[in-house]
């Protein structure tokens, strides 16, 4: 005990110091531990290197760099398209690199393009904050905190993943737009291929031409095609995220609009409606897409996963079996 409040908080409190602690203590912040680059570090050993050893090391480094370039390095190239995006706290002029753990931020007028290893690119729109979480062979991952990105990926499904506060988007060979609002809600719009959108076990498969909203507590809503009528889209939003008491009314609008109620939307609704409404959804889907051989109405009504997946595969948009296998290998890191 030093009896010195300013030194260690002991002794008689100093009112001025107490007030300053309370006031300035509001500024305390401990940011998360940064993701480290893959850069190998060897402490002190450099001191003992002979010139010959240094030359040998240089050769090894060059070989290593060449090898890294062929297998994908722990950073991506980033180019400024407009304004001055920031990587971490550094303003990006022209091109630069973003390392694992670093954050790219665009202001209201800046845009940037990231090269996703060798498999595609991501355009970062104004007002966006995105972090490179991981990049290695066959697995590349971003976290979109807010804003908008456009991804164009040419790779086997599952190699590119974007986490948002309310869902994880897994590329299944595609091009898409992903937007996240300040409150963590978001929107996924797919222009090519399809994307799996998932949060806490709630899944949505979104094909080209369709979109899907997502909510921070609820996860992905029900996918719908972009050319659906406004009233139909609003009914789906009401069903997914609105007052539960209004869900029956919303469902009536959805089922009553056969010209807009597409098979993709109906397939998702099977597992989202109450049991009492499930038969009506199954009937509506059967009208558009007959059940394949081996899939029974009873199995679907009891939400048998295999039966639902086989019916999904009949849509011809992608094989659900593949998605199940991928998910088992890469469970959500939440």
């Amino acid at each position: 005990m030093n009896n010195d409040y300013l030194w260690d908080g002991s002794g008689t409190p100093d009112p001025d110091v107490q007030r300053l602690e309370a006031l300035l203590g509001r500024l305390r912040s401990i940011p998360p531990v940064p993701q480290l680059p893959e850069t190998p570090v060897r402490w002190r050993s450099v001191r003992y290197l002979t010139p010959m050893l240094a030359a040998a090391a240089a050769i090894i480094v060059m070989i290593g760099v060449a090898w890294q370039s062929t297998r994908g390095s722990a950073s991506w190239e980033v180019a400024s398209i407009a304004g001055q995006p920031r990587i971490g706290s550094t303003a990006l002029a022209g091109t630069g690199r973003i390392a694992v753990g670093q954050t790219l931020v665009t202001d209201a007028v800046s845009r940037a393009r990231m090269q996703v290893s060798s498999i595609g690119s991501v355009t970062i729109e104004p007002g966006t904050r995105v972090r490179l979480v991981e990049t290695r062979d066959a697995h590349h991952q971003l976290a979109l905190d807010r804003g908008t990105l456009h991804a164009v990926i040419s790779a086997p499904p599952g190699q590119f993943v974007v986490d948002t506060p309310s869902a994880r988007a897994t590329d299944l060979g595609c091009a898409y737009m992903l937007h996240v609002d300040e409150d963590g809600s978001g929107m996924l719009s797919v222009t090519s291929g399809w994307v799996a959108f998932e949060f806490n076990g709630r899944e949505a498969f979104v094909p080209a031409g369709a979109s899907c909203r997502t909510h921070p507590q609820l996860g992905p809503g029900t996918p719908r095609y972009d050319d659906a009528r406004q009233e139909y889209r609003e009914a789906l939003d009401e069903f997914d995220f609105g007052d539960p008491a209004r869900r029956p009314d919303a469902l009536r609008v959805i089922l009553g609009d056969r010209s807009n109620a597409d098979a993709v939307t109906l397939w998702h609704l099977i597992s989202r409606v109450d049991a009492a409404d499930r038969a009506a959804i199954v009937n509506a889907l059967v009208d558009q897409l007959p059940m394949p051989a081996g899939v029974t109405r009873e199995a679907v009504l009891r939400l048998d996963r295999l039966a639902l997946d086989r019916w999904w595969s009949e849509l011809g948009l992608g094989d659900a079996d593949w998605w199940r296998k991928w998910k088992a290998e890469y469970p959500a890191a939440r």
Partner: protein
């Protein structure tokens, strides 16, 4: 509200549970990420305080991460593990200087204005006054008043002697009181040292 100082927490260190700083640094240099996380936990408040006194608050967290990544990649330059704290502080100061230079060269950053919250306004006003103190006083006071470090912790992390820290704290606090008294408060009156933070509920 008086600040409390929690008792030191016994934490598991890599391998043997309680490695000394040199062992931790050596483990980090060999790629041990758990050791890096421990080093980060021990020094993040010091780095945060140094940056907070120099750059806009909104960029401090990002810069903290930049500093630790830079330290990790440059660890081979550190010859004496005991000098780690001072070396890390230098990286933080240099990073802040680079940031300010780049900001002037590339981006017209908007002035950091507090929002409508009177406590927020008071906080930023006091931070502005602290940030204008001489470096040694500014950094030591921010570690004490913002980060809640004790004088002994400040000395251990920064590499300063306890006597130097004590002098910095007391002279810095004296100067801060004088500067606070000289600045009009939000109501147009002159602020007294005893009025510091009195907008708080």
């Amino acid at each position: 509200m008086p600040l409390t100082f929690p008792a030191p927490v016994e934490r598991d260190r890599p391998d043997e549970g309680k490695l000394r700083l040199a062992d931790t640094i050596r483990a980090v240099a060999e790629g041990d990420r758990n050791a890096f996380a421990l080093l980060y936990a021990d020094y993040v408040r010091m780095v945060h305080a140094i940056l907070l006194g120099r750059v806009p608050r909104r960029d401090v967290d990002d810069l903290v991460q930049d500093v630790f990544i830079a330290a990790y990649t440059r660890l081979r330059e550190l010859r004496e593990p005991a000098a780690f704290g001072g070396w890390l502080a230098t990286i933080a100061r240099n990073r802040a200087t680079d940031y300010l230079r780049q900001s002037r060269e590339h981006v017209a950053l908007p002035v950091e204005l507090p929002g409508g919250d009177p406590i927020e306004a008071e906080t930023m006003a006091v931070l502005d006054i602290v940030s204008k103190l001489p470096e040694a006083y500014r950094e030591t006071l921010l570690m004490r008043l913002v980060e809640g470090m004790t004088g002994a912790e400040i000395a251990e992390r920064s590499g300063l002697t306890p006597a130097s820290v004590r002098v910095n704290l007391h002279r810095g606090m004296k100067l801060l009181r004088e500067n606070l008294q000289a600045v009009p408060d939000h109501h147009g009156g002159e602020r007294t040292s005893s009025s510091v933070g009195q907008n708080q509920s």
